[in-house]
Symmetry: C2
Subunit: 526 residues, 2 copies
């Protein structure tokens, strides 16, 4: 007798269903898992992708990139690049083809905990945060306040508890860090203190990268162990669109690559401002820029781990302001994801942010439309998919938790629909129609599929209007606040063991107070 | 000199952009139009569709449908159907194949105004309402009240003003109509009084269909004119899943088909309750049921206009309650849309409703995810895509307006991304990078594409946090209420001319007071 039969025999229908729902299910049998395979949505045709590729090659060979630093010029000219008459570094087709022949593919992005390792290749999809918001959304007062270092740690702890958020790239700028040095070291520290999922962060100067690597060696238990399972990647805006290298970022990139830190090669143009208003042109420019970045990385260290990150954004052309929640944003992110598949690269791009300032209905649909369409392309890493508001200016911890529900729902679609003899259910339908009872409510198939075919929101409300009214018309943002406070006041994972933390704090200027990282945090308990 | 150059020469950048944005643009040049071509998202593989088709055929031939009325049995047995030993009407494969060979395809669904005619075939997508909600959401008090006849008229007027809502199927039940007769006649009347877009409605008894046809003949200017451009379709739940005919609905169907009224063949099973919990099985059952409906219609009148409507819904298996906002809902609606394309039928299904009771962030993401994924399949008619809450129990007029913005954003994705020499923008990029100014803000291409490549929300807020704060932190639901009141107190289209209205009112019991249909409506002006 199966568990299902056993439970349903012993209990009545509704109670049996509740018991089944509560029963733990092995991860591999659950309705969704990290890294489901997408790719069912393909906005670009094959010929479209070829034409974008051809345009990118022509841009790289004839327009080239400005402001290359000497080490970049040296590395790339050794591989066939040349400076043109405008002082721009041009990359011929053969160099790009050589790059694509040798670059890293099918690499794991590691979590501190191996259960969070990601395999971001093919059409596998992972969801995560990102950004550099300068505000935290206060949902109670409907206002924005400055984002702080402790917020980074709090966000990390919430992400660590969110089933459908698979990695944590730093979403905010810690504005209480007054120097670039303090910012870089402490951002990385606060992120990895709060989650054992893969962390992405950013650095502004090459010597900070070196210092971060020292810290990572301590945490990993030595350089060799760090290099075997690098659990932090560097989000690197190596290019200032259109088609110019960012000098400091390039210097940071080189140190990261040599230090075994995966890099996200991020080109963040804005259509109509720093990229063409024509969406195909925006995609072509981003593709060209990210191919240049890939050539650069591979010229420094062939086969270095790099995530290919064309991240174009959209302008509202009435004002020039960014509109990350627009329909056009979904479209260009989806197209960039497809270009990643065209090259068979690990591709990460941004969707799921919104223009709305608060977690309201506008935020919901902007996030729903952009994240779902981008995900369905089989994008490997979907950045900015949780928590982000105001086109990257405001981050909301309540939204992290609400977006986690949304991403679960999207992930169910990424998984898709299995069609086989069992799922087609001919025998089940015939049985119910002919033998009775004329419905499927108590059928074994129904009970056995409760958690395998369906997912359930943690915060989303599915009550009838009557039940909802009787329950006092609960508000989802209030529920999210309650859950947020529950996590922040009780969940203090020890991802940096005390003896290692002592070592780090003795050698580096760690600004996150220890009392914030343990029960009784004075922020909540005073 | 182009208009763009002319305007931008005479004015500064930002002012020029504002002027261009305000300039009327021909509909065929706008970023989106009704009936954009989708189909870029295909959750089912070819072989999956074949297997669903084979399962549906086997269900129809061996399980058949119960409760067929005599006229249905007579019409279908004349075409090769037979009664099996369980008293169920079975439809052999040859009958389905014959049906698919002769059924109507590529038919127009007419608006009262020809500018709203729809061509719902191929991968063309149209968005509309639907449902039979019994409540109206009051966003001020966060409560639900009974839905009334005047609400149907109000919803119609709002839909008439919404650019991205292309048809109006009655979304609510007028609970002040105390008999089936009053409900059927007045629902149709209130809908067509408020919009010149195509209207869908429903009827509960065949004699009401006859009476509705009489009214439609008056409005059209005679039966011949009605039959030439039928602007009302009948939403018909001819089947009670699993696999049983609905007797009254079948009688209504026959009168509609003979009277030249397009029918929507709607199968509304609920996975885990009245359809299998396995999603492939739910789709197979819905496909079988709707193929039976199509055979029935064509047995009565070969080539009669019928929209193929597999509309399966999802249960939350913990409670058995419907969950129209779930990820699974997006998936099965998308799969049904694809099955419609498999048969090359005009397919309509439901997505864009939500489980949330209010226009909040949950409502937004549920609508965004489900409507966008369903739309991207190239579904011809997307019902329930605006205004619906609480899994079809509550309808919200504010949400109609907010969802209109969302549907515009989705429609931009349905249109997709054009890749050609001009849009690839090689020359523009080269020019900006090499000649300067290093950005695209004032570029001719940017100005010329403002309305052709981009759409703008009517209610959605794209301000920066600073601007938003200075503007008093506007709330989107409050803005929607203001816009709703503006429409309802000023927009009184005369879609039923007075002399025809006099005629209709003299012969039929029209319950919508005339004073509600003109300026000074006592509901608002007392």
């Amino acid at each position: 007798m199966s568990v299902v039969e056993d439970i349903s025999r012993r209990r009545g229908g509704r109670e049996a269903r509740k018991a089944l729902r509560a029963r733990p299910i092995p991860r591999e049998e659950a309705a969704v898992r990290p890294g489901m395979e997408g790719g069912q949505y393909r906005p670009l045709k094959e010929r479209d992708m070829e034409r974008i590729h051809e345009t990118a090659l022509k841009l790289l060979e004839t327009v080239g990139l400005g402001q290359a630093i000497p080490s970049c010029i040296e590395a790339l000219t050794a591989k066939g690049a040349f400076m043109n008459e405008h002082g721009r570094l041009c990359l011929p087709k053969a160099l790009i083809e050589d790059t694509l022949a040798i670059c890293a593919r099918d690499f794991v992005l590691y979590g501190r905990d191996p259960k969070h390792d990601m395999e971001p290749w093919g059409n596998k999809v992972y969801f995560g945060t990102a950004g550099a918001a300068v505000h935290i959304v206060d949902v109670q007062t409907r206002t924005y306040r400055e984002s702080l270092l402790a917020d980074l740690y709090d966000c990390a702890r919430i992400v660590d508890q969110c089933e459908h958020i698979h990695f944590y790239q730093r979403p905010i700028t810690a504005r209480d860090m007054l120097t670039g040095h303090d910012l870089d070291i402490n951002t990385m520290y606060a992120c990895m203190a709060g989650t054992s999922k893969h962390v992405g962060t950013s650095m502004v100067a090459p010597e900070h990268v070196t210092e971060c690597l020292e810290i990572l060696h301590y945490v990993a238990g030595g350089e060799e162990k760090w290099r075997a399972r690098p659990f932090i990647s560097q989000s690197n805006c190596f290019v200032v669109p259109p088609m110019k290298f960012a000098e400091d970022a390039c210097r940071c990139l080189e140190v990261a690559v040599r230090g075994g830190m995966p890099v996200l090669l991020l080109s963040a143009g804005q259509a109509g401002a720093t990229a063409p208003a024509a969406l195909a042109g925006t995609v072509a420019q981003a593709v060209a820029e990210c191919l240049a970045g890939l050539a650069y990385v591979n010229a420094i260290k062939p086969g270095a781990v790099a995530i290919w990150g064309p991240w174009p954004f959209v302008s509202d052309l009435r004002t020039g302001a960014m509109s990350g929640g627009s329909g056009e944003q979904a479209l260009i992110t989806a197209a960039c994801a497809q270009m990643g598949h065209f090259y068979r690269l690990t591709v990460g791009s941004a969707a799921g942010m919104c223009d709305s300032k608060l977690p309201d209905v506008q935020a919901g649909y902007e996030k729903g439309v952009t994240a779902s369409l981008a995900a369905m392309t089989g994008i490997n890493l979907l950045y900015e998919s949780a928590g982000m508001h105001a086109s990257l200016l405001g981050f909301c911890l309540e939204s992290l938790l609400i977006d986690n529900d949304m991403l679960g729902s999207i992930n169910r679609n990424v998984r898709g629909i299995e069609v086989n003899d069992e799922s087609l259910s001919f025998d089940v339908i015939a049985n119910v129609c002919i033998e009775g009872p004329g419905h499927y409510l108590g059928h074994d198939q129904t009970l056995s599929l409760m958690q395998k075919e369906y997912i359930y929101p943690a915060l989303g409300n599915r009550m009838s209007p009557k039940e909802w009214n009787e329950a006092g018309r609960p508000d989802i943002v209030e529920r999210a606040t309650a859950r947020k406070m529950e996590i922040l006041t009780t969940y203090y994972p020890e991802y940096i063991p005390t003896e290692i933390d002592d070592l780090i704090r003795s050698k580096h200027d760690i600004k996150l107070p220890r009392e914030v990282m343990q029960p009784g945090d004075p922020r909540w308990f005073t």
